[in-house]
Symmetry: C2
Subunit: 252 residues, 2 copies
C-alpha cells in the first residue's frame, strides 16, 4: 500500500527540498522503494539527486501536459530512490493549464498508475500555494510541514486554510502528519519559543526530532549527494535518520 | 531624481524581505524619503513594517487592478519610510491579468505618479519569476540580489536570463547594482567558497559588506520593527547600516 507524502510550506527556504531529498534517501537506505517527485520549477531536488551529466528526457512538466509518467522516472544517486525530475519550463505550465478541467488532479491520477512500484512517494513543493502545490496536496495522504523561523510560522494559517479546502473539495484522504523544525538552533530564545508555540497549537503533531543547522546539509547538493552519502556521521545526517524513523512509526 | 531598487532572487528564504525592510529603515534614519513596495502575496515586508492593529484599506493588488497608488500608501513603523502594502489575495492577480496588454508595466506606470515624493523606492519581490517580479524588475533602475547558500547561486543564471530579457524588451534602464551575501558564516568553507566564486564571476558588483547570521534579524519582524529600532547595537544592524552606505555610494 503506497504512502504518498507532500512536503509543503509556501515560505521560502525553510528546508522543504533538503527534507524531501534526505528523508527519501534514508528510506531508500533502509531498503524501501521510494519515488521522489520534484514539482518545483527551480528543480533543486532534481539537482541534488542527479549528476550534472545525466540527460533528462522528460519531466513532470510533460506529465502535467499529458505524457505517461512511466517515461519520466529515473534512477537517482541514492540507492532505492527514483526521481520524477522537474525543469525550469515547469513555470509556464500553470497558465497553460488555466482552463483545463481537472487540472488540480493530474498528478494524483498519474501517480495512481505507478504507485504499486513504491513503498513511499515524496513530493517536494515550491514556495507558493499555486497549481503545482495544489496538485501535490491533492495527490498525498500525508502532509509534513518544515518550519524554520518566525515568518514561516506566520504562513502556517494560510497553509492550513488551503489544506482544509483541499481536504474538503479535492482529497479527503489528506491529513497533517507532522510539523517539524529545521535549521534549529536551541541556543536562541526565538527557536525555543517557536517550538513551544508549535507544541501549544499542534500538540502531538509536532515532531520530537528537530533538524539542527549543519553546514554539511547545505554542502551536499553541490556534490549531488544526500546527507547520508556525503557526511553520514554529521549531526544533519543523524537528525534526518531520526526524523525519518519517527515518521515511519507514525505511518506504520 | 527618484531611484528605484528591486530586491530579487527567485530562491526562497535568502533574505530579500529582511534586506528590503532594513535597507529602507537605514535610509529613512539617514533622513531620506523612502517608499517600500511589497509585491509578495505573503506580505512579510508589510507585516514587518506595520503594527498588527493598523487597518489596511487598499494594497498593491488594488493598484495592479487599476486603483490609484496614492490611495494605498501608508506610513510605516520606520521614520521616513512609507509602505505600499501587500495582501494574500495578491496571489490571484497574476491569472486575473493574464490577458491584459501591458500587464508587466502596471507598477512602473503607477510609481511614476508618485516618485517625485521619494528619494528611493525599494521593491521586495516574491520567491519566483512570475508577473509580480516582472512588474518589479520593469519598474526599477537598480537590481540588488541577496545570495545565501549554494542553491541560491544555482538560480542566479535563471535570474540573469530574465534580467537580460527585461532589459531588452521592457526596461532598458535596469542594471545589476549589487550581489551581496546574507546569513554569512565566514567560519564555513561553503560560505567563503561562495563569496570567492561570486567575486570571480561578478567582480566589483559583489558587495564588500556581507550580512552575518544574527538571530536579532529573525526576531525583529515579530515586534514589527526594523533591526535598527529593535537591536541597534547588534551585528545585524551594523551590517545593514554598512551595506546601505555602500549602496548609497554606488548610487550617488
Ligand atoms: N539544517 C540545515 N542546516 C544548514 N543549511 C540548511 C539546512 N537545511 C537547509 N539548508 C540550506 O538552506 C537553504 C534552504 O533550504 P531548502 O532549499 O531545502 O529550502 P526550501 O524550503 O526547499 O526552499 P525553496 O522555498 O526555495 O524551495 C539551502 O541552501 C539548503 O542547503
Ligand atoms: N542575517 C540573518 N540572520 C538570521 N536570520 C535571518 C537573516 N536574514 C534573514 N533571516 C531570517 O531568515 C528567514 C528568511 O529571510 P527572509 O524572509 O528575509 O527571506 P526572503 O528571501 O524574503 O524569503 P521569501 O523567499 O520567502 O520571500 C526569515 O525568518 C528571516 O527573519
Ligand atoms: Mg525547495
Ligand atoms: Mg520575502
Amino acid at each position: 500500500m503506497t504512502k504518498t507524502i507532500c512536503v509543503a510550506n509556501q515560505k521560502g527556504g525553510v528546508g522543504k527540498t533538503t527534507s524531501a531529498v534526505n528523508i527519501a534517501a534514508v528510506m531508500g537506505n533502509l531498503g524501501l522503494n521510494v519515488l521522489l517527485v520534484d514539482i518545483d520549477s527551480q528543480a533543486n531536488a532534481t539537482m541534488s539527486m542527479l549528476n550534472d551529466d545525466v540527460p533528462i528526457n522528460a519531466t513532470i512538466r510533460d506529465v502535467l501536459k499529458g505524457a505517461h509518467i512511466e517515461d519520466t522516472i529515473m534512477e537517482s544517486v541514492s540507492p532505492g530512490v527514483h526521481i520524477l525530475p522537474s525543469e525550469l519550463a515547469l513555470a509556464t505550465v500553470e497558465s497553460e493549464l488555466a482552463n483545463k478541467i481537472g487540472r488540480e488532479k493530474i498528478l494524483r491520477k498519474s501517480l495512481k498508475r505507478i504507485e504499486g512500484n513504491y513503498d513511499y512517494i515524496i513530493i517536494d513543493c515550491p514556495p507558493s500555494l499555486n497549481l503545482l502545490s495544489i496538485n501535490a496536496l491533492s495527490a498525498a495522504q500525508y502532509l509534513i510541514i518544515p518550519i524554520h523561523e518566525f515568518l514561516a510560522m506566520e504562513g502556517l494559517n494560510q497553509l492550513l486554510d488551503i489544506y482544509n479546502q483541499i481536504k474538503e473539495e479535492l482529497n479527503e484522504d489528506l491529513d497533517i502528519s507532522s510539523i517539524f523544525m529545521t535549521m534549529y538552533d536551541p541556543r536562541t530564545k526565538l527557536a525555543k519559543d517557536l517550538y513551544g508555540t508549535l507544541k501549544e497549537l499542534f500538540a502531538d503533531k509536532v515532531a520530537t526530532t528537530t533538524i539542527p543547522r549543519n553546514v554539511k546539509l547545505a554542502e551536499a547538493p553541490a556534490y549531488h549527494q544526500s546527507i547520508i552519502a556525503y557526511a553520514p556521521e554529521s549531526k544533519g545526517a543523524k537528525a534526518y535518520c531520526q526524523l525519518t524513523e519517527e515518521l515511519l512509526l507514525l505511518w506504520k
